[in-house]
Symmetry: C2
Subunit: 188 residues, 2 copies
C-alpha cells in the first residue's frame, strides 16, 4: 500500500491530533496509508524532546514513499519552514512530492499585503529592505513550486480561500486522490 | 576538491552577484569550491525563467557534496523558504549540511517580537491564531536545526547580531572552515 507522510503546520493547531486522524481517515478512504507526525505523543518538557520529534519525523519520512505537504502560508508570506524542509528532504530522497495551499494568492500579492513593495531603479520589485520579491506569478518560492512540478504533481490550490484555511481539507483530499491515482497507474 | 552549494536569500540582495563572488572567494581561501546560484544570469522576463532557475539550482546541488545555508530570518520569524527547501534536499541526498544565521535570538523570542504570544489554557505557548509556538530554545524550526546536528554541524550563530545581517560574512566563514576541516579529516 502507498504510504504517505502528511507534513504541515497542522501539528501546531490546538486540535493537532484530531486533524491528523481526519487526514489519515481521508487517506484510508482512498486506499492509501497516511503517516502523521506524532509531535503530540512526545513529552515536550523532557530533555531532548525536540530531537526525539526530529528523529521520529525523519523515520516516518524514510518509511513513506510520498509526501503531501500543507504549504498554506504560516507566520508570513511563505509556508511553514519545518514543512518546507520536509518537502525538500523527500524530493532529495526521490519520493513522490505533492502539496496544497489553502491560500490561492500569488507570493507577490501576499508579500504586498504584509510589506510596502516598490520597483527599484534597476527594475527589481523590492521589499522595504531592498530585497527582491519573486514575481513569477507562483504561489511561493520557486524552489518548492517547481520541485512539485518535477518531482510529483503541481501545487493544489482552491479557487478561493476556504472560510477556515487551517481546517478545510478539500485541497488535501485532492492531493490524496492524485497520490492514489499515481499508485494505481501501471507505470509507477 | 570539496564543492559546496551556497544557499541563501543573498540572491535577493541588490548586489547579489557581488556577495556571491565574496562568498566564493572566502571558499577559495580555505581550499574549497563554492557554487553560488546563478539566478541573476537568467533573463527573468523570459518564459519559463523560474523553471530555468530551479533546474540550474538543482543541478548545482547535485554536483556539490555539501551545502552552507544562510538561515538568517527572512520576511518573518523563520529562514527563507527556498533556502530551507534546499537544505532539506541536500539532507535527503545524504550531503554534508552546514548553516548559519546572523540573528542569534531564539525562535520563540523572534515570534514574540512579531506577534502577541500567550499561554493557552492547555499550557501551550500560542500565537494570535492559537497555533503552537515552538519553544525549545532553538533558533528556528526543529527540523532544520536538528538536521544540521545530525547531517553536518550545529547551526553557527554570532554572539550578537552584526550591524549588517545581510552582508556580514563572519558566520559564513566559520561554516566554510568547518566544511574545509571535514574535507581534510581522514575519515571523510
Amino acid at each position: 500500500m502507498t504510504t504517505i507522510y502528511l507534513a504541515g503546520p497542522d501539528v501546531f493547531l490546538p486540535e493537532a491530533v484530531e486533524i491528523g486522524r481526519r487526514k489519515a481517515a481521508i487517506c484510508a478512504a482512498h486506499g492509501v496509508s497516511g503517516l502523521y507526525p506524532l509531535d503530540n505523543a512526545v513529552d515536550l518538557s523532557a530533555a531532548g524532546a525536540s530531537m526525539t520529534i526530529f528523529k521520529g519525523n525523519q523515520a516516518m519520512m524514510d518509511e513513506a514513499c510520498a509526501i503531501i505537504a500543507n504549504l498554506t502560508p504560516f507566520r508570513g508570506p511563505s509556508a511553514d519552514a519545518g514543512t518546507v524542509y520536509e518537502l525538500g528532504y523527500m524530493a532529495g530522497r526521490g519520493k513522490l512530492c505533492l502539496a496544497y495551499s489553502n491560500d490561492p494568492a500569488s507570493y507577490r500579492a501576499r508579500v504586498a499585503r504584509l510589506y510596502d513593495v516598490a520597483t527599484a531603479a534597476d527594475g527589481r520589485l523590492i521589499d522595504p529592505e531592498g530585497m527582491t520579491v519573486e514575481d513569477f506569478g507562483l504561489s511561493d518560492n520557486l524552489m518548492m513550486i517547481h520541485a512539485l512540478d518535477l518531482h510529483g504533481c503541481p501545487l493544489v490550490t482552491p479557487r478561493e480561500a476556504p472560510a477556515d484555511i487551517w481546517r478545510d481539507l478539500a485541497a488535501f483530499e485532492a492531493c490524496v486522490r492524485l497520490a492514489a491515482g499515481r499508485a494505481a497507474a501501471p507505470s509507477s
